[in-house]
Symmetry: D2
Subunit: 380 residues, 4 copies
């Protein structure tokens, strides 16, 4: 990696091939605010496919690589090589890929979860901390919605007092189309249940990491102890599909989590509520421009992105109040801030998720698994 001189950052991509939804998302996010130019990538293990797809994105053929090692090797010695690499492969490979680029002093934007399991997470964490030249961002994108950051800000300002209860749920019903009793259900679900691919837990790595991250991101707390109950897709299909958990936080606050891929009925929702001694906050992804702030001794305030009493949120918006922003706007906020963090001259505070939060979510997932197995409260 050379020093950053051009107007735009040079971005490389690992993963996110033609069928990948998240690849599509990362690429839009990188274009959103005009801070990146995608110049290199690995899009498939099949070199031909990787090249074909890369070229369709406007990448020159010689920078469409066959594997991430080759990419790290070549880009790191190239004049105008990539400054940043975005990793959007399955969870189990996050650590080894990231380490390869860290070794070459290339900045990292990684899709969540931080790593496939706690062991990998600890290694990766150590590696990141050991290299002072690189920045690392983790796309826990929900934390980048303007009103989630407003919530974090209100907590920090003491507006809800001491936090006493946290209630989070992330439930999705994508499973509804799959008949779990059929023979090939397992095949179809391979990418969701094979531990070599998804890591420690299907549902927890995929969406549980988001739920827990959101809780610690807004509250500033960390989980202390957990009691969890995890359920598989079915008796035959042993991937985790549903997790219920109670968490005691490090300030004594009590939390409840429900994370599931199973519920039917068009429910696809991430919701968080945080209750403190002076009031409470509620946010839900399906109407993300609003935050309910319920003071203990006053009428509910329905805060709106960019409007009065939600000034902090303005920093993270692109369009005026009254005009909704969504998933992609929030996702792009992480790319935008990361670019700023790399090019800024003076130290500022950035709000994108990082390796510290990544390690915490890995601990949470590991503790969930242990508690569910032992049917006991365990330390996170």
């Amino acid at each position: 990696m050379t020093s950053i001189q051009s107007k735009k950052l040079f971005l490389g991509i690992v993963g996110g091939g033609p069928k990948s939804w998240i690849g599509h998302v990362h690429r839009i996010a990188s274009r959103f605010d005009d801070h990146y130019e995608v110049v290199a990538g690995v899009f498939s293990r099949n070199p031909k496919l990787s090249k074909k797809f890369g070229k369709s994105l406007g990448i020159s053929a010689d920078r469409c690589y066959s594997n991430y090692k080759e990419m790290a090797e070549k880009e790191s010695v190239k004049k105008d090589g990539v400054n940043v690499v975005s990793i959007m492969t399955p969870p189990s490979s996050h650590q080894i890929i990231a380490e390869e680029f860290i070794n070459k002093n290339i900045h990292i934007i990684s899709d969540k979860p931080f790593a496939g399991n706690l062991n990998q997470a600890k290694k990766l964490y150590k590696k990141i901390k050991s290299n002072k030249k690189i920045n690392y961002a983790l796309t826990h994108n929900y934390s980048a919605y303007p009103m989630v950051r407003q919530a974090k800000h209100l907590v920090e300002k003491g507006k809800i007092g001491k936090i006493e209860y946290i209630n989070v749920e992330y439930i999705q019903d994508w499973l509804k189309g799959i008949n779990l009793t059929t023979k090939n259900a397992k095949k179809i679900l391979k990418w969701k249940i094979d531990k070599k691919i998804v890591g420690a837990s299907a549902v927890l790595n995929e969406i549980g990491s988001h739920a827990y991250h959101l809780a610690i991101y807004i509250s500033g707390l960390r989980g202390d102890k957990i009691f969890a109950d995890i359920k598989n897709f079915s008796k035959k299909i042993k991937g985790d599909a549903n997790a219920q958990a109670m968490v005691n936080f490090n300030n004594q606050a009590k939390g409840m989590f429900w994370i599931s891929s199973v519920p039917r009925g068009g429910v696809y929702g991430l919701k968080i509520r945080i209750f403190g001694s002076k009031g409470s906050l509620e946010w839900a992804q399906n109407n993300p421009g609003y935050l309910r702030f319920n003071p203990a001794r006053g009428a509910v305030r329905l805060l709106e992105k960019g409007f009065f009493e939600a000034d902090f949120s303005k920093k993270f918006t692109r369009v005026k109040y009254g005009h909704p922003e969504g998933y992609l706007d929030a996702f792009a906020n992480i790319y935008k801030e990361f670019a700023k963090s790399l090019t800024a001259k003076s130290k500022k505070r950035y709000f994108y998720p990082n390796e510290d939060e990544g390690l915490e979510t890995a601990k949470f997932i590991e503790a969930c698994k242990i508690s569910s197995r032992r049917k006991k409260w365990v330390k996170i």
Copy 2:
């Protein structure tokens, strides 16, 4: 008790004195549909106060009694004595009072919980079952909202398939005005924490019983095992104030409950969601005329009381769709149905809560307490 001949049922009341909110509620409910006439009562342990308040309600002085035993004694031998007695004393006395009237073959409408603890509940249950002449209703009033009954109806019709998840919460913030660290907090909270008054658990008897009742009422299921975590008001004030629980139901469905008097911020809400293999249902007390029915493979349907696709709900409404009904309308539905059940000539199905459901909620509360103490899953 004589046989029921007059147009209106003669109603006696035990409890619900001048400062009692629930007494006020029961009396309005009894007037709502013109099926009862309040003719006797005990409104205070102080005979003078009881008489004074009774007279203010239009009851003749000689039927304002000093205690429930006297009332049961005298009314049961009186021509035109009470047909029904409504009991709205604190939980711990529900059993002994009800038994006294059952002994005299007087029908019972009892405020919830069924009894102060499981031991009392079992005795009362046995007593009720042993007397074929009396009917017993328990005012788990939320179950009498038209759209809650519509929900029960949809479940029975198989519209959501096999139930897989149940999520209920009942949180109230009435505690916000009380400084738990002051010396006299304990005094103020006496009626909420003294086990001789509230029975086995403050928060569980008061609102936990409602939450669990609603779940079993709509779903038709029973809890099998439970893991719970109960928290006191504070270190000094040892009454239960917050309960989190996971419940495995008898059909393998998994449930989560949150029951609390502590959360701040104008939150005072009972919400239930039931997810089945074909879709899900959502109902919340703060907008009770609507029920969300989310089919697994179709758009969300917002069912409205008395409107198309919610025909069953019509039986339990008094005003047209578009015109909201509330807490008192629902409460009165129990009084109305109970009157009908006493005067009907042919057997019909009634939907008011009864002793069977009462015993179940007592089991749930007992199991919550045990699990929280042992930090283990326990049988309900």
Copy 3:
């Protein structure tokens, strides 16, 4: 009428026979707070039917009258005759019936509209004003919801500044079941379109009066000029079914009204928004326990019945915040206040609608009709 001595007021009823929905509503409302005892009535023009239905309500046979003149005559000379009469006949008869009882110094609770047309309204208004012994209440029931009164209170306190815009709509879809092209549609709709029954306008007397009343009740303003466009049920069926109107109020505020029985789709809604120089208010009947207060320079406040920042609303509630109240609770508020106004010793302010507001709504309806015919702005 004798002086009021008993605990309860003696109430007579004119109208509201067995098939009448509004009769049912008035009777529940009169029982709600235990201030009235129904002791006399005329329930049908057919004396037998009137008697039969009256008896079913528990009224003694000799006080089930054949017509309102007989009732006024006899009750007024009877010891313990009715103190109050409730009139719930079709609009065109409101005036003559009310006048008969006013002549006998009997207090009046009348269903809306005030009168069948402006001419009748002026006569009735004069009659009421000429008798200092009687009180008159008009059941524009929506104005009795706690949060509507909170809205009125906030306006009076200057919380939204000078009113600039008012937007009201009352749309119902009850017509959906009637095929307007069939021969007998006219017969079915007789009670909705025959001017001898409904008065000046079907849709305006039925629901337009409510919409306009609510606007002037909350705002304290009066309409100055109006431009309206009224549409009939169909080319053949000439009763008014839809009215659109622009109103300039006496403080220059501009208003829009949409009043209709035609729109399809489960819409049955009364909504009002009032915008002032300092903020705006929004209320809708389908979630009546809440009022949105949108300050010009602050986050939206979602005021809840009986909770902080909605203290005034408490006076008109029976159950705590978090527990919804509905149509009947509000309707009963008018009966309750009217009873208090008759028995109170000192002068207090009452909030039930009266003849002044009644006359205003009649002026509005007349002006709507004239404007629509002339296709011009006209004076109200």
Copy 4:
């Protein structure tokens, strides 16, 4: 313009300088789906500023022009000159600028309104129709939300039957910060009230055009007659700030419009409801991923972007149901479709707004003005 051969379209921009919000929006929209490359532009009348800003966008200095004539001249003869020009200048200049580029056979994306007034609109319309080589898109961006298009689709499929009522409002409270009585209010508002800049009407060109466009876009109807009442900012400041209108559509449906920049209270909302003989539709920009479909004889259906019963909407989404999209996603849909329309080989149906709809909105605005002045119904 040369024929389109490169992967990306070459885009030129006229207007949208550093302080322009809408300029920012157009540029993000053009990047969203990677179909355009901004290669030329005029960003200020001041050549230096134009160059400076253009360069900051990565445009080469020689393609940052001093005025649109120069740009049209030079780009049209350049190899790899712009294929498309986006015009985002004030309304009064839309016509003359567009015509210049049409003369050079360059495709046009124009910000709304179509033109400054009806006269300009007619000329521009004629010019566009006279050139078969160019495509023209008008960024009435609200019509590009997935659920607005779903609404159009449902109307076309006959799902709501014959349209009977249309109700639209677009109200914004941006004025709240400006004291209209101060001397320099007029200066501040220059860009909103000077007819040489804004054209025929401030509020109608700015947001009224959106409201009317949305109505005709979804319904497929055209206005026939109108009655309007327009109000200025204040007595001194004579720009239009508020418009109320009734519209009779060409199928006899009746409409109401409220368009205003004045209402206070964080209201910034575009809402539309369309009622037909078989049901109704409701959509509001502040929760744009949902569409209420209220069948006349069935429960309300809450359709969600990309979910069951909203299949058509999928074509216009980038992220899954459950993940919200907003203003920019919709805006970008117009850019995306326009690119496809230019590069497609076979004829397909496109949904972006065009010159036909543009001319209609100009007619509506002109008729509003005339009706308000004459206080009469006028032909649109």
